[in-house]
Amino acid sequence: MALSIQHLLGLEGVSKEDIILILDTADGFYSILQRAIKQVPTLRGKTVVNLFYETSTRTRLSFELAEKRLSANPIGFTAQQSSVKKGENLRDTIRNIEAMKIDMVVVRHSSPGVPLFLTQVTDAVIVNAGDGSHEHPTQALLDMMTIRQKLGRLAGLKVAIVGDILHSRVARSNAWGMSAMGMDVTLCGPPTMLPQHPEGLPVKTTDNIDQAIQGADVVMLLRLQLERQGAGLFPSIREYRERYGLDLDKVAKLKPDVVIMHPGPINRGIELASNVADGPRSVILDQVTNGVAVRMAVLYLLGGGVEE
């Protein structure tokens, strides 16, 4: 069994079969993570570069752990501590690293399209760890894995993703991936934070949160990027919280077995109340655990070479 794609640049255009293969393989790796020795020799000898031009806690550590648990050799690259500060451009950076004989690159960058660009200038396998507001495919995959774990299925489930949709690569990747799996997705946020041309995405959009979350099986909150307050996208944090934040009052109107998710980091008390984030319906920490399993699955399925 192999994926039909050679790199993971995003979930747009990725088939249902490929997504299922990744999720099923991730289940296998999840059980490895329950053992005393959480390691398998599968990617032994493979070198993976974690090319992070943007800061990250979860994604970066998660990929590094996934690589080590596959017995691969990860090396990290932090733009702030590199010759990027001396003005070295992206193409030169990656060509120089490639000259050290590497196999795979996991890249996070603030410019959309960087992963695609890398496939054109290097032979390494490329995995997108987040490119600007474009896509964050492994996040959406771990989100779907978590939902499948908790609710036993994906097709037909109603999902509401709430927050700054406009600037969210998590929302976009989930929109593509969940639609491919036959899920009913609604993106919700203040009108200033919804895409101008939502017809480009295969999902519904609305600024009415009550409508969006009514009858939802899954509610996913996105981080409010507080730095954007100065840009006039919302009148005040308090107003955002009251209208679009998830608190116990709103949770009371939801299904009793609703699944509540957040990609992290959480602004406690803003998009998500603490007592909900830490409550029984929240699966936020499960998402993090599953993240390692999903990344192991992606690296394994893409990294296992074509030597015959």
């Binding site: 069994m1 099923d24 490895i32 053992r35 398998v40 296992g304 070479g305």
Partner: protein, 179 residues
């Protein structure tokens, strides 16, 4: 693929498993220390039957564990040949146990090598013993079985396939010609 010879019919398989169960009992005096693990996929069915027979003969309550070795294979670079990863479930503590690994066919020995690595990642067994229904020769690694149902001489362009009632509707062991 063409069927060449029926190596064992349902009764033959059952009689052979009876004899192998007796051999396991004879070889392992401390029966409270024995753990049975079947290798995905068909080894699992054999392991369960072996465990049931041993339980009947010795009054025990052994449960066969399941082992999937996909991540330990040595041909993992050839991803397009990979079988889909399946469940691994070993419901007992490996440490200090006499582990009986069960598989249907022993051929090159590479799958067993992978299984040994996998088992070691669970803990430190006292012994690992191998039980196979068929040893078809052509070993590529220094691996041997402790309990063998039957030895069969085969050619490299042949295959030995076990059909089980639970999955294929009947018990039968066939020698096949691969094209």
């Amino acid at each position: 693929m063409k069927k060449l010879e029926l190596l064992m019919d349902a009764q033959g398989i059952d009689l052979t498993l009876n004899r192998m169960a007796h051999q396991v009992l004879e070889n392992n005096r401390r029966l409270d220390n024995v753990g049975i693990v079947g290798m995905q996929t068909r080894g699992v069915y054999l392991a369960r039957r072996l465990a049931e027979k041993i339980n009947q003969m010795a009054g025990l309550h052994l449960i066969a564990g399941i082992l999937d070795v996909t991540f330990y294979r040595d041909d993992y670079r050839q991803v397009f040949k990979q079988p889909k990863v399946q469940v691994t479930d070993i419901p007992f503590d490996i440490n200090g146990q006499d582990v009986i690994l069960v598989d249907d066919v022993l051929y090159t020995g590479r799958t067993v090598r992978a299984a040994l690595d996998a088992i070691m990642d669970f803990g430190r067994p006292k012994t690992i013993q191998l039980a196979v229904l068929i040893d078809r020769g052509h070993r590529e690694l220094p691996i041997r079985a402790d309990y063998v149902g039957r030895e069969v001489k085969t050619a490299v362009n042949q295959e030995v396939d076990l059909y089980v009632k639970e999955k294929d509707g009947e018990d039968a062991l066939w020698l096949l010609q691969t094209e």
